[in-house]
């Protein structure tokens, strides 16, 4: 391995990788950790396809250096499902056909989960604002918003 050694936690597992200092965390996660659920859309923080959580905070992984992940806690879309059991958000995205090509979907799921972790019962407006950093060029957002509303209901029922 060449580059700087990074020790981090990804979806609860200890992970070690080495990367050049100027590599984005998005590239590190995709190319070195093999988590290709992290998608590259714009690479400049505008589209949200590469959304992850860093110590619980929603961020664009293309705007984080891989080396910054040292000692931090990362959450990606791969950590959403519980084994074979999909997360309510994932189930409702399927039920509502809230995706077409699918490249924006992991980012939407991670951003929606970050919202529901903070706000159990968001209004439609709150959902739309919270997902404003995620761009979808296929579905037109309505189905996505409905899916998040349905998942929020499911999650509240569970508790």
């Amino acid at each position: 391995m060449t580059g700087t050694l990074v020790n981090t936690t990804v979806n609860g597992d200890a992970v070690q990788f080495a990367c050049p200092t100027d590599e984005s965390l998005m590239d590190s996660l995709r190319d070195r950790v093999g988590l290709t659920g992290v998608k590259e859309g714009c690479g400049t923080g505008d589209c949200g396809a590469c959304s992850i959580t860093l110590d619980g905070e929603l961020v664009c992984s293309c705007l984080v250096l891989g080396v910054e992940a040292n000692g931090r806690n990362i959450g990606t879309v791969e950590g959403l499902a519980d084994g074979d059991k999909l997360h309510p958000l994932q189930e409702q995205f399927i039920n509502h056909a809230a995706l077409q090509c699918g490249i924006c979907t992991p980012g939407f799921l991670v951003a929606a989960k970050a919202l529901l972790d903070k706000n159990k019962n968001p209004t439609e407006e709150e959902i739309r604002y919270a997902l404003a950093g995620n761009l979808c060029r296929c579905t037109g957002y309505d189905k996505i918003v409905r899916a998040v509303q349905a998942a929020s209901k499911d999650l509240r029922k569970k508790k």
Partner: protein
């Protein structure tokens, strides 16, 4: 590229001062990583300031509130005390980008990136905020309006970094507000913006500061606009005078976001609306 993550501000300043090539401070990275990606910058050294405890603090003391340079927008939003004392500052900082950007972006980064349309800057200037600047040899405290000198340019010498923003102590009846105009509801860059901060005494405006964004090469503190409302109950006549002073202080460019004429007119309108919100927040009637 060397990546360093020092634990003191002094060390960070020394690292940058000693570097022969292009050296950058990394706070939220929401501007720096875009510059690197698009080839605008090719740093030989990046100094991550997020491991410096003094930069991560929001502290209120007898002299005011200190916000560390590495404090993100979402942390400002989560700080109820700060939101209550300085709602205009927090709403300005929170207007920058998406939730993803808020998870990383900082007010000091916004300031030092020196965009004329930076949202948090007019609010900080209106508040009378000061920047604590640490250099390899000395520390100095300067008003925020002295940091940016033009688009992308600052008065900071090589090796000088901003450690924190100091907001004055809030006493008595006081309020601030920040408004920006964008053609969309979210995720856009200010076409025009206005920050107003004022205090009241016996129902009248006692002190005021009015600052405009995106209508000149840097944010503009408009003293004449503040004068127009000081001593008033914020009646229509004083507000109109304030708006006139704001428009007169504009030196904008015309671009795809707005024309010179449009920006000049809207600056006055936004300042009026922001002043009304600040007045109400201060308990004015």
């Amino acid at each position: 590229m060397r990546y360093e993550a020092p634990t003191t501000t002094q060390e960070a300043a020394n690292l940058i001062a000693r570097e022969k090539g292009e050296a950058f401070v990394l706070a939220g990275g929401t501007d720096l990583l875009v510059r690197m990606k698009t080839g605008l910058s090719d740093p030989t050294l990046v100094v991550d300031i997020k491991h410096i405890p003094a930069m991560q603090d929001v502290k209120t003391t007898d002299s005011g509130t200190k916000i560390g340079a590495a404090v993100s927008g979402s942390r400002l939003n989560a700080n109820k005390k700060l939101k209550k004392a300085w709602p205009g500052i927090v709403e300005a900082a929170n207007l920058i980008g998406s939730d993803q950007i808020q998870g990383r972006a900082t007010m000091v980064g916004n300031l030092c990136n020196a965009s004329p349309a930076a949202d948090s800057v007019p609010a900080m200037i209106a508040a009378g905020a000061k920047a604590v600047v640490v250099g390899p040899k000395k520390r100095r405290t300067v008003p925020v309006e002295k940091i940016a000198t033009g688009p992308g340019k600052t008065s900071l010498a090589k090796g000088e970094i901003v450690e924190s923003i100091n907001l004055p102590k809030r006493t008595g009846k006081a309020g601030d507000a920040y408004l920006r105009f964008i053609p969309r509801t979210e995720m856009d860059i200010a076409v025009v913006s206005a920050g107003v901060n004022l205090t009241l005494e016996r129902g009248l405006v006692k002190t005021a500061r009015v600052c405009l964004g995106a209508v000149g090469p840097t944010a503009v503190l408009v003293q004449k606009a503040a004068k127009a409302i000081i001593g008033s109950k914020l009646d229509e006549e004083s507000l109109d005078k304030m708006a006139e002073a704001c428009s007169a202080a504009c030196t904008p460019i015309s671009d795809k976001r707005g024309t010179v004429e449009y920006r000049t007119k809207v600056a006055g309108v936004l300042a009026k609306r922001a002043a009304k919100i600040a007045f109400k927040r201060a308990g004015g009637k």
